[in-house]
């Protein structure tokens, strides 16, 4: 396809998206396709994994991360389009379980009496929700206590799968995931108060590759709009001012 006619015909935008945002992203993509006729191709992984892929030349037009740090790094290294970085959602961390043995108590008190159960978190080095979970556990003085019982998901999606399948009895997942109708019924679910970990500022950025791509620009404008803000809020995220 010639670059010049990209905006008049149906075109494809390729976007790298942090795993926690998958449900909301599906709604956004559907809506964008209905409104404009353009297709959005999405790759889900942890923010750290996607960041490494982008650094190594992965062909993405835009990046929806689960933190602010990695989009900032891409901006500093000149791999993004200047001025495009913005916060599209503020994530919340939820402690979640379906383990019947935990019935009756609340999730938070179970952190102190895990027994032989496992606690699932996402990899703190590559997944911002994992870093937030570690922040909370350290601040609560629980880190050294639960450290030997951690199971670590490669991203927040795998972490959710660990608890949703019952393989881990407790897990720190994204609020958006805990609202997913496909999850089995929760035995307990506790939203970690915002002040107990670094805020999960989820930022998006347009990448260098999309510099002359009008459809990518259109998609980014769509992300700023009221339609997307509604979808984001509906999936359990807070919105930036």
């Amino acid at each position: 396809m010639l670059p010049g006619i990209a905006s008049t015909n149906a075109a494809t935008v390729t976007v790298a998206v942090a795993s926690n945002f998958s449900a909301a992203m599906h709604d956004i993509v559907e809506r964008f396709a209905a409104d404009t006729g353009h297709t959005v191709r999405v790759s889900f992984a942890s923010t750290g994994q996607l960041f490494v892929q982008i650094r190594n030349g992965a062909p993405f037009d835009a990046f929806l991360a689960a933190d602010a740090a990695r989009p900032q790094l891409l901006e500093q290294s000149g791999q993004s389009i200047a001025g495009s970085r913005f916060t599209y959602a503020i994530g919340r961390l939820v402690l979640w379980s379906r383990d019947a043995a935990l019935a009756g108590g609340n999730c938070r008190s179970r952190l102190y009496s895990l027994g032989t159960g496992r606690l699932a978190i996402a990899n703190p080095d590559t997944a911002p929700y994992g870093a937030a979970a570690r922040d909370y556990l350290v601040a609560a003085g629980l880190w050294s206590r639960v450290k030997s019982q951690l199971v670590i998901g490669e991203n927040i999606a795998q972490t959710m799968q660990f608890v949703a399948s019952g393989n881990a009895s407790l897990g720190f997942i994204a609020k958006a995931q805990s609202l997913d109708a496909r999850l089995p019924e929760a035995v307990c679910s506790w939203t970690v108060p915002d002040g107990l970990h670094q805020p999960i500022q989820q930022q998006a950025i347009l990448l260098k590759r999309a510099i002359d791509d009008l459809v990518a620009a259109e998609f980014f404008k769509f992300l700023h709009g009221a339609v997307v803000r509604d979808i984001v809020a509906r999936h359990g995220y807070a919105l930036p001012e």
């Binding site: 750290g48 994994q49 032989t116 199971v151 019952g166 393989n167």
Partner: protein, 233 residues
């Protein structure tokens, strides 16, 4: 300046623990596969049963199945709501998934064809007349196996050991799904390399990858050299 042993670079190296864990996993898996695989391979080599082809196809499945398929089934079956996992929890009080024991089970299935096929081919290549001679001379079936069949099948055993060990050491997809990345328990070397790459620690990734590459190469070199030696005899 003098350095104590624990200060030495290798001890701080993030791959030292996972390397040791992977070697332990490969050693236990190989030992189990030899113990249980040998009688099974023997039966496969001797049987005239029509079910033989069916069983051979099942044994070979892990070679062609994506590790994610195996990993998914294991996650379901070994998990606390699964048939085997629930039973295990009742007995030991602990979950099979995310444990070393769970990885041993997974690896035994994953590397089964490499052990069984190597030994089966060796047993099938045996000269049956030697066995029959032993039987006529009054040796029991097990006597004949240990004194006639085994010594003549050394090559098969060697191939089984090298291939099961190396294949288990290289396991990634299955562990990614049922391991849970626990240091000292399930964080094997391939997972460590993946994490090092994803965290941009290329220097560590290079070092660990080079160790695995060299090991795999020399293991295979050893195997082919021994095969050649036995062939020429």
């Amino acid at each position: 300046m003098r350095q104590s042993l624990s200060d030495m670079a290798f001890m701080d190296f993030p791959g030292a623990g996972p390397l040791w864990l992977s070697f332990r996993l490969a050693a236990v898996t190989t030992a189990l596969l030899l113990c249980f695989g040998a009688p099974f391979a023997w039966w496969l080599a001797q049987t005239k049963s029509r079910a033989k082809v069916l069983i051979e196809a099942v044994v070979a499945l892990p070679i062609v199945l994506p590790p994610t398929v195996l990993g998914f089934y294991l996650l379901v079956v070994l998990g606390p709501y699964g048939a085997i996992g629930r039973w295990w929890v009742e007995i030991t009080g602990e979950s099979l998934t995310f444990s070393f024991s769970g990885l041993v089970i997974a690896s035994c299935i994953y590397s089964l064809p490499f052990a069984v096929q190597s030994m089966q081919h060796a047993f099938e290549a045996l000269d049956r007349r030697n066995l029959e001679a032993a039987w006529t001379l009054g040796a029991s079936r097990s006597d004949a196996f240990f004194t006639v069949a085994m010594p003549q099948s050394v090559r098969g055993f060697l191939n089984a050991i090298v291939l099961s060990f190396a294949h288990t050491l290289g396991e990634f997809g299955v562990v990614l799904m049922v391991g849970g990345n626990i240091p000292g328990e399930t964080r094997v070397i391939s997972i460590t390399i993946f994490d090092q790459v994803e965290s941009m620690n290329y220097a560590n990734a290079y070092r660990l990858s080079a160790i695995l590459l060299l090991f795999a190469f020399f293991a295979l070199l050893f195997m082919f050299a021994m095969n050649r030696r036995w062939q020429n005899r």
